[in-house]
Symmetry: C2
Subunit: 226 residues, 2 copies
Amino acid sequence: MRQPVTESERTHGAAGARIAARLRDAILSGEYAPGARIRQEDLADLHGASRLPVRDALRMLEAEGLVTVRANAGAWVSTLTLADFEELYLLRERVEPLLLGFSAPLLSEEAIDRLDGLALAMEASSDVEEFLVLDREFHLSGYAAARTSVLGDFVTQLWNRTQHYRRAFTRVFRDEGDRSAHHDHHLIVGALRRRDAEEAERVLAIHIRRTRLELERHPEVFTIGG
Amino acid sequence: MRQPVTESERTHGAAGARIAARLRDAILSGEYAPGARIRQEDLADLHGASRLPVRDALRMLEAEGLVTVRANAGAWVSTLTLADFEELYLLRERVEPLLLGFSAPLLSEEAIDRLDGLALAMEASSDVEEFLVLDREFHLSGYAAARTSVLGDFVTQLWNRTQHYRRAFTRVFRDEGDRSAHHDHHLIVGALRRRDAEEAERVLAIHIRRTRLELERHPEVFTIGG
DNA sequence: TAGTCACTGATTGCATCCAAAATCAAGCCG
DNA sequence: CGGCTTGATTTTGGATGCAATCAGTGACTA
């Protein structure tokens, strides 16, 4: 009856974890589109391994919601309906402020400076892909100081699941010249700097909600993979 | 580029899923204690299968948080620290009311009658194990009408992860003659019957928070597995 | 005597092979 | 001519065997 030491260790076989990491990046970068078929043997050949660690990798990504597996049929990159997306954003709206509450008091001044820089860089950025990277970096860095065992990973998974769809509708919203997102970001940084975690959480919740509501006016975004 | 039909299908190999289901039940029923070692070959022999579907099962349960796997070392039934438990209850406090909000308007009158019956049965129950079953049934039945794709499963996982520790401290709290939990249950049923979802959500949040706060006064419960 | 190192046993991880299930296309029947 | 059934192909699922890694024990040295 020996205890597993700590959560943060490599929990899986090296090969399986490597393949999972690369496939995850490929999906998040848009290399694999939602709905795309994933064949085990292709991945095995690509990584010079057998199909067994590939199966492990697929199960890991399935657990993260990035991949959908059907018995005796195969694996596909997960797709979201509009309802799914709204559900995930309702979750984000409730969970991310909680995580920020854990992180806020532990953020160093330097970390807050970096968040400020990211917010400014986002405003200056004109490239959608760059904006997506900066936005993700801004939010996840804001949570990075939190010492949680499940919350942090869960939030990252929520971001990963919605990544491709964020890409799709960011192209629409940015052209509309919506400035409120940038405004929110600066409000959050300001609250964090004043060590007013409650205010930061409040603005974050509104920030996430705003995106969801805007999306409801652009349901055509969800004609992507389905 | 063919779509996976629907979420609710068997997504895994039959053998792996069967083993996972039985192991899950064994863990939830307390047959395996937190911190207990799980050997692949034992499970394989027990189910008359090879170690391969067993590994699949372990990965599934790891994804659900019930099992902790370390590379080249083995699998253990997950243990929780007091901080972990509080984190999970903070999550429940935010997520379960959201799920109840999805379910409430879709609950039939018969379903609400059943909830009422469960609440009464809990009050009458003197056996801890029976109480745990009824409590779980009460809550999860209350959410059962929700047509969600991730929220419902997530909440079930939160319940499963905390199951063993609920068992441990329920023995303590019940002896103290705390009646507020029963009071909450009836308030929730009443609100549901009046189709006042907001009130039901509010009471549910308080109900979950109360348990967390009570637990903070009994940290000795967490001397269980580690 | 306490700390370190090497060795042994046990357990997991991966590769190969075979079986089972689903997909897809062609042929058949209504 | 369209829908259904049937068969071949493709792809996944599982069993066995071997290699790699880790835990635990004992002896050796300072």
